[in-house]
């Protein structure tokens, strides 16, 4: 943008609904998550963190000191399952919001084949992607499966309320499944957090709710074309084309494009 004649540019009312020309410095911002989705995500993240800290304190002796964060071993033991109950509710809401956008497709297979290039930040020859790439979808489905496993096995080993319903042998399997699922889930979250650090501009999506147009163009071009820009020709035939990246219309503060 060497010379920008602002009088030739559209105002926000005139460009697609989910795109905002915030500063007229050659950059637009694209809505990615509404306020409800962001709060839902961070409540889930907070609960996952509490569960990780309290769970790890009971998992390995060298981490037992973490139980001090919760007031000691007994309190940690008492709180951990309740964190889990809140997490399953919070995560279920995330799941419902995002499940449609995480259905795998052919682009994901092509994208995965290029993973070696992607980790070197080389994007040549990558397919254009919708709102989520295969890695993000694996986080979504991985956490969905593992949190389900942890919820069921967690109920089995929640001795205070459910101790009498299962045999000791079943509880042994539940304990092993619970801790193994937790390890994998924490592993996924480490990768998830790192991806947010590595891919610059990503955390903005979950904090401010929007990403820059360039970020969307680089990482989720099909989403930018189809959804954010509302291209009719691109959206034709797509199910739920009216507003597919926002399955649950939230309190978006921007006026509709009319």
């Amino acid at each position: 943008m060497s010379v920008l004649h602002t009088d030739e540019l559209k105002r926000d009312e005139q460009i697609p609904r989910h795109v905002h020309d915030a500063d007229r410095k050659g950059r637009v911002y694209v809505d990615r998550y509404n306020t409800t989705q962001r709060i839902n995500h961070w409540i889930t993240a907070a609960l996952f963190t509490l569960l990780t800290l309290s769970g790890l304190s009971l998992f390995h002796p060298s981490l037992f000191f973490l139980s001090n964060l919760f007031g000691g071993g007994q309190d940690t033991r008492a709180y951990h399952p309740w964190f889990g109950v809140f997490l399953i509710v919070s995560f279920a809401m995330l799941f419902v919001r995002f499940v449609k956008l995480n259905v795998p497709n052919r682009d994901d297979v092509r994208w995965m084949r290029k993973l070696g290039n992607i980790v070197q930040n080389k994007h040549a020859g990558l397919p254009e992607l919708g709102k989520y790439n295969a890695g993000q979808k694996m986080v979504f489905w991985g956490q969905s499966a593992l949190i389900s496993v942890m919820f069921v096995s967690g109920i089995v080993i929640w001795d205070q309320y459910f101790g009498k319903y299962t045999s000791i042998d079943i509880k042994r399997y539940a304990l092993a499944a619970h801790s193994m699922a937790a390890l994998i889930a924490i592993l996924i979250i480490i990768v998830h957090i790192y991806a947010g650090i590595w891919i610059k501009g990503t955390t903005r999506a979950m904090i401010r709710g929007s990403v820059t147009g360039g970020w969307a163009y680089r990482h989720h071009r099909k989403w930018l074309r189809k959804v954010a820009l509302g291209r009719e020709e691109a959206r034709a035939g797509e199910p739920g084309a009216n507003d597919p990246h926002s399955p649950m219309p939230g309190p978006v503060s921007h006026g509709p494009a009319e």
Binding site: P61, G213, H254
Partner: protein, 315 residues
Amino acid sequence: MADYQSLDIIRRSASTEQPPRVRGGQEVAKLIDVSRCIGCKACQAACMEWNDLRQPVQTCQGNYTNPEDLSPSVWTLMRFTEYENPDGNLEWLIRKDGCMHCSDPGCLKACPSPGAIVQYENGIVDFISENCIGCTYCVKGCPFNIPRINPVDRKVYKCTLCVDRVAVGQAPACAKACPTACIMFGTKADMIVQAESRIADLNSRGFDKAGLYNPPGVGGTHVMYVLHHADNPRLYANLPQNPRISPIVALWKGGFKVVGLAGLALAAVGSFFHYVAAGPDETDSNDETVAFDMAHFEDDRNASEGRGNDVRPSH
């Protein structure tokens, strides 16, 4: 009073520190000769008395086992089994159930709370209640189904082998009370010798399968039985044939812990090194320009009414 015998502690739950080994004392054992048991329950009464435990009165379940099960306040229990042997004769098998004080205790292995379960050098496995967090992992770790959680205080209880008596040179209360010397107490070596003479006696009386129950799967126990049917301990109210720490528990408390934490550390360190090696994935100004132009120029060609308005619309 967790540490009043700390010099005698050779193993401590959820702890990796080297325990003190300056003393090197003798292992003790309780030997229960079930062939001499008359089912009087003096041992149960003595246990209640010494440990000051009172189980609320229950209803009869149609047999002599009373109370019906071990509980937070029932640390030892005589289990009565009516067994019809191959000759068609009734045998009344009575086994005094309770903590076996394993050399390799599954409860201690499973316990996540440092010092909630300890093993003394004399072999006694003891729960230190002030460190117990009520998770009941010990219940899953025990191959004998002994520990019981108290729903009132969320702490787990079991036989202490009267560690407080043994520490001052006394026999456990149950052994002291037993009128037929069915329950014997001494060094483990002495008790094995004692058992051998009892087994020889039983053999001479036609119990050719008599033997000592000191299961090697848990490294031996510090409560041992002389059984007339040592070939089939299940006869005695389901005493395990070959008890050992469940492989699931061993995996969970063994491999998982090491591989799991190593995996998490590797992921974190690996991520950092990836950042150092490959660097961040950044959006360049060309991407921004293209997206900007897509938003402003490619879509709506006849948006002319806004031209000339350089005031940024608020939204």
